[in-house]
């Protein structure tokens, strides 16, 4: 965690949706915190920004359990 009194780094890409829950739901296959699959989490650092945004776009629907 940053010491927030100093200026933050400038934006360098798409932020990870991880919120440190890190528990895969056996039924849905999604993490109960960020709603990504194991593959999406494992491959995250290899995704382009566009691919990351593509995953982020899928998350709201997964959160609603659609």
């Amino acid at each position: 965690m940053s010491d927030t009194s100093t200026p933050p780094a400038t934006g360098t890409g798409v932020a990870s949706p991880c919120i440190d829950v890190c528990r895969i739901n056996a039924d849905s296959g999604y993490c109960e915190g960020c709603y990504r699959t194991v593959m999406e989490i494992a491959c995250w650092t290899r995704y382009t920004d566009e691919q990351k945004r593509g995953v982020l776009d899928l998350l709201p629907e997964r959160r609603q359990g659609a």
Binding site: T6, I19, D20, C31, C43, R46
Partner: protein
């Protein structure tokens, strides 16, 4: 190489696989073991490795070693820790390892070997050398691949900051100098990319170093600043694991949690209620937490 980017409660895990072996660097936090095992299994399959042959820790804080025992059970992997950490692990010192002392948890594991600065390792088809990285942890190591210009930095350097300088807080006089030397060592390397213990791998190494030097200087200038930062970080970390903490329990919590009690005695000298109030104000001000009914819950880490 596969970088498994985690969060703050778990460190990143780096898998280095080649024809002969597969090595994992750092194993995340205990509470996340099932997800760590799933991610490692995925990465092993992805790289065509049949098993995890070796496990290495940059340093032995809970967020970096929590999956060690589980990985050993599943894979029987040969496990190495920095030499300076070995005595603490062997006697499982819950205080010195910042476990019970800091309201954190880890599972005891077996050490097969130790690593020291200067040691050479072949991992993922790449030649690495271990570098000393004292500061956040006196015995921490980084791993440098000179040909590929990669640095696995642990908590010595993140894109925006570095790990809490615990040794300084516990009275080790040379900690700021150690930290500066570690940053200088990184600055002296020809690097294409840094893979930190937390956060995404990054290539703007000069900018990250500039921010790190700036933070270090700010800590050096104001002795209380590091203590205030540490108190916030410790509570935020605990909150990431607990997911919620009743606000009413904070005064007892800061007295019962050794590191907070000791920080208070040494740097703040507040009554527990006062210290709890101060922490609450600070955590809200820095947007680390929010209130949910009578509870504190973590806000998404920045």
């Amino acid at each position: 190489m596969r970088v498994l980017a985690r969060g703050w409660l778990s460190s990143n895990n780096i898998l280095l696989a080649d024809a002969g072996s597969a090595t994992l660097i750092d194993s995340g936090y205990l509470a996340h073991v099932p997800q760590t095992l799933a991610l490692v299994a995925h990465a092993l399959a992805d790289t065509g490795a049949s098993t995890l042959t070796r496990l290495v820790n940059t340093h032995c804080h809970s967020d970096h070693m929590g999956g060690n025992a589980a990985l050993q059970r599943r894979y029987g992997c040969h496990t190495s820790v920095p030499a300076g950490e070995a005595p603490l692990i062997e006697r499982w010192d819950e205080d010195a390892l910042l476990l019970t002392y800091a309201d954190q948890r880890a599972e005891r594991f077996r050490i097969d070997a130790t690593l020291a600065a200067g040691d050479r390792l072949h991992m993922g088809g790449i030649d690495w050398v271990a570098l000393a990285a004292p500061g956040h942890d006196m015995h921490a190591l980084m791993f440098h691949a000179p040909n590929e210009r990669i640095l696995i930095s642990g908590d010595a350097l993140w894109e925006d900051g570095f790990g809490v300088l615990f040794p300084q807080l516990f009275g080790r006089e040379g900690t700021f100098a150690d930290t500066r030397r570690t940053l200088d060592a990184i600055a002296g390397l020809d690097l294409n990319i840094v893979i930190p213990g937390h956060g995404d791998p990054f290539t703007s190494v000069d900018a990250a170093l500039e921010r790190a030097y700036s933070r270090l200087h700010a800590f050096e200038e104001d002795p209380g600043r590091l203590a205030r930062h540490a108190a916030r970080v410790m509570v935020t970390f605990s909150l990431l694991e607990r997911q919620r903490l009743p606000i009413a329990s904070l005064p007892n919590y800061v007295e019962d949690t050794g590191i907070l009690r000791d920080l208070n005695r040494r740097y703040f000298a507040m009554q527990p209620q006062q210290f709890a109030d101060w922490l609450l104000h600070e955590l809200e001000r820095t947007r680390a937490v929010k209130r949910d009914g009578g509870d504190l819950v973590p806000l998404v880490a920045a």
